[in-house]
Symmetry: C2
Subunit: 590 residues, 2 copies
């Protein structure tokens, strides 16, 4: 049944909504696809629900094609399984927690590893039952601290999550590869640019993990890639150790550098009072910065850590945190400094850092610090720095750590220059291994009658986020421009003017289009001007627009391509055929 | 793609699950449709999800047919709108409440009157935008005190809820009638016996309300009907006032009736010590029982109420509560008796009851008490009763109230005898009127440019409950027997034995059936005995079963009708045609 604009629950807005920041999000609200119900929580209006259903259908199709079976778990869950996996605690304030009338702790599911694991445990007991892949398309909940990106990052959102169960690592690899292929097909169909990046798997106890990132400046995630196809999010990049260089510096010497607690003041003072012999200026890159942080361990203990890196770089907290997980990074406070009086704030150097040194604080170097390189760094005394301090000759560290913010041009693991870009995580595939199965006791009998722990994978696609990303990536100044496969309708028929004949003919064409299996949005409003109708059609963004108006007297109607803006008159008798050609042609060619 | 038993996520159980009480619920668990995740919270396994999707599709079809538009609101909602409608408080412990990370109160939606009302208010402003009907199919939440009936009464469940918006009462009546028709069509297709009953609308502030009850002894709701088509739930029945009778009793007289604080002891004492002149025995029906309760008003105040009714009847708390709403009924405690020393517990009579009497307690009579009738009742003194006390001659009351439990044979509003039955509420349609629109300020401009409050209706169907009810109403000793339109598959193909030829032929037939558009469940398990396969097929309950086995050598296969148990051999070449005839024939005839 055609959607008729005269009755459709829709009110397009000419002004941007106050609560939207991203261009696509603004258009989704203005064009009547979604509406905010509470911060980070959205209502899906008829047009939005149509698009969402199409995205879901694509995902369902590709999941079914790899033999994954659809189920649906509850969204409201008991605490116990999440306690067993430790996620009840680990999720922190992102988890919506509540109590029922009997004071039982419950939660709104963020993802369902535990529940799937327990159900498989309950039902299956033999290697013969495996492999198994299950999925669901369902409301998920995460209490985001700053839900500002519309449906790109909601607090209630729809996700397709799946879980694979295999008898061993080889089986997991197959299930993982099947999901990777299915996700590739899904994202190829959805209509935005994406890249598959290596992701960090360490914290989840798994062995491999990749993310499907929509390439977009709107993204909160930074990733890197090289020109040979390598791509990874910054947490997962392991940059190579800078190769050793020949020592050319003379002996280290301590100099007075009063009032130089920052890199800027130090470089200025060096250039003013300690000019280099070769005439070059000192830069921040010549200095070695030693950054102190506190590691907060899950058991509640805190431990200091010092990271040495060139003065022109910053520590990337996300990258560092990945390496020290499950510990989290907290600032090194004034009160901490008081407990380590040997640390001369602003002038801290390798002289006191290291497990064997005066502070006893573990000291790790970023791999950009090369053996044999000479540095200006703190002399562990206020107002003094040491120059020509050579790594490997004059000081050592307890190891290295991937800690520095990456920069355009840094060499990646393949030895090629990296470029940086931003992305939005649209999918995540994950070799979980046995972490959850061990915590919840999911074992089956193997071929030899021996109990073995099941090996799991977990895989997610953000469904509502995908709708948001498609919108962000398919718009122009005047509205949305949906890719055909997810558009709320195949064609938008607009009847203009006040001539009954136009509306009669339009209704006839609408019926014919529907008889051909097309979905039609029909603007049958009587007292609305052509200008408003055109503006609405452009805003709503159905890919093909068919306009009936004055030209009908001469036997012509106008066919508009929303994306290119191209218009052409076609004879009214051929209109249905022309529309079909547009719709099917593009789908076939997609 | 056929569901194959060899890989289907399914483990049928031979034993009843410990956590299920109802026969259909036990079978749904045993046959692998659902599984309990927590009390009142269920997981939908692949077969269950198929049935549920078919029920949803039927509902969607009938809602679309009346022009209702599908939307989806969030399940996690802010407190404020529910505060404005007072439901935040009224819902009491049935509402799941929680706080987000910023300490905002939130709730899991039980129904969405408030949210729909606010969204329409936000988008629409004129009578020209009406009428409007919106619906959603969505997870709902109610923290049931005793979630013991499986998916018939879950704490997380799926409901189709719709809301209509009209400019006036006449419009509401049309929207209501359209929903009533759609619901009739839906329930006619779902495969269980149902009845439409008048329901009480008073508490919700609306003007009319009907329930669609599945007729079932499993039901928690009692309803009545007469042989002229009248039906109502007990809360909504208004039984007529018993007509006045001629006074035949002599003057009232007080008698000693020591140790008779209960109706039983009183009747025994009367028969022993005060035989009737006409020789008939005294029965409980000759006594007038005066029951005291406390009304708890929403503002926190409590008020006593006395209800007089024949001693052979009990007060029906649900019926009485409907009449005193929004007050709730609480017991009249010992401490309350202390505050009313004129009440002689066990011997309370109309002598002290009534707003004008010593106690000042409002005194209402059940309509079964006829003017002119004579009663034995308390004499307001311990050990004493008054006999031949005539209503209207010797005592009066402050009014009447529909309070007594109804009995088979009681006369209904049409003056016809009522029969009682039990039912499960499957749907509810409700003329809300302006209650929510007023509370939330939903007004539009009428034809004269005047702001008028919108008139709303709300309508609900329990989707997961419907699946449960279909199961309860379609089963036998050996398993489920799905009605065709909601069965998880059209046909269950069972290949038995170890002969490759059987499995090859079965696979071929499965393909042919699918090519004809049928949904097939295919038992392709290699190492499972025919007996187990037949038991599983009977338990799962697909309406048509096609068995391939030894007979194939002679060119025959067996076609079984799950409901009738009828089996017949058909030639293998004609098997697909026969199956099609079974499937289509019954659907066409349904």
């Amino acid at each position: 049944m055609a959607l008729r604009m005269s009755t459709l629950f829709l009110r397009t807005l000419r002004e941007d909504p106050a609560d939207a920041e991203l261009p696509g999000h603004k258009l989704l609200v203005r064009a009547g696809y979604i509406r905010r119900a509470a911060p980070g929580i959205y209502t899906w209006l008829p047009l939005g629900l149509k698009v969402r259903a199409k995205v879901e259908a694509i995902i369902r199709e590709e999941m079914d094609a790899i033999g994954a079976q659809e189920v649906q778990f509850p969204a409201l869950l008991p605490r116990e399984p999440y306690e067993a996996s430790n996620r009840w605690t680990e999720y922190g304030p992102n988890l919506f927690r509540l109590k029922d009338r009997r004071d039982n702790d419950m939660l709104l599911g963020p993802t369902h590893e535990e529940m799937f694991c327990l159900t498989v445990k309950d039902m299956y007991s033999s290697y013969k039952d495996l492999p198994l892949s299950l999925y669901q398309i369902q409301n998920k909940y995460r209490d985001e601290a700053r839900p500002r990106a519309g449906i790109l990052r909601g607090r209630e959102f729809i996700m397709k999550d799946s879980y694979s169960f295999d008898i061993n690592e080889a089986g997991l690899q197959k299930s993982y590869d099947a999901h990777r292929d299915a996700y590739t097909k899904i994202f190829n169909r959805l209509g935005f640019e994406y890249v598959i990046v290596h992701a960090d798997a360490g914290a989840m106890g798994g062995s491999a993990s990749e993310e499907f990132l929509a390439v977009s400046d709107l993204g909160e995630d930074t990733f890197v890639r090289d020109d040979a196809g390598y791509a990874a999010n910054v947490e997962a990049v392991e940059v190579p150790q800078a190769p050793a260089v020949e020592v050319t510096a003379g002996p280290a010497h301590v100099e007075d550098t009063p009032d130089t607690p920052t890199i800027e003041t130090l470089v200025a003072a060096l250039n003013a009072n300690h000019p280099r012999e070769d005439g070059r200026s000192w830069t921040a890159a010549d200095t070695l910065k030693n950054v102190l942080v506190m590691l907060a361990h899950p058991d509640g203990t805190r431990e200091p850590l010092a990271v040495g890196l060139p003065g022109d770089r910053e520590v990337d907290p996300k990258r560092l945190e990945t390496k020290v997980a499950p510990a989290e990074i907290e600032p090194f406070e004034e009160s901490d400094f008081k407990r380590y009086p040997m640390l001369a704030k602003g002038y801290i150097g390798p002289g006191v850092l290291g497990e064997e040194k005066a502070s006893g604080i573990r000291y790790l170097l970023d791999p950009s610090v090369a053996e044999g390189s000479a540095w200006v760094t703190g002399a562990d005394e206020h107002g003094k720095h040491v120059l020509d301090l050579v790594y490997g000759r004059d000081f050592t560290a307890d190891g290295t750590v991937q800690a520095a913010q990456l920069r355009e041009g840094d060499l990646g693991p393949n030895g090629r220059a990296l470029t940086l870009a931003r992305g939005v995580e649209m999918g995540h595939i994950f070799q979980l291994g046995t972490k959850y199965a061990e915590a919840l006791g999911l074992k089956v009998l193997d071929e030899n009658g021996k109990l073995v722990t099941v090996t799991m994978g977990s895989y997610g696609v953000g469904v509502t986020r995908a709708v948001g990303m498609i919108a962000e990536d398919n718009l122009d100044d005047i509205g949305l421009v949906w890719p055909r496969e997810v558009a709320p309708a195949d064609v938008h028929v607009v009847a203009t003017g006040k001539d009954d004949a136009v509306f009669l003919k339009a209704a006839e064409i609408v019926n014919e289009l529907e008889a051909q299996g097309l979905e039609v949005l029909y603007d049958d409003r009587l007292k609305v001007s052509p200008g408003v109708k055109f503006k609405d059609a452009e805003l709503i963004g159905v890919p093909t627009i068919l306009v009936l108006g004055k030209g009908l007297a001469d036997g012509t109607v106008e066919l508009k391509d929303r994306r290119s803006g191209e218009r052409r008159d076609v004879p009214v008798e051929g209109a249905v055929t022309e529309v079909l050609r547009e719709v099917k042609g593009e789908v076939a060619g997609a």
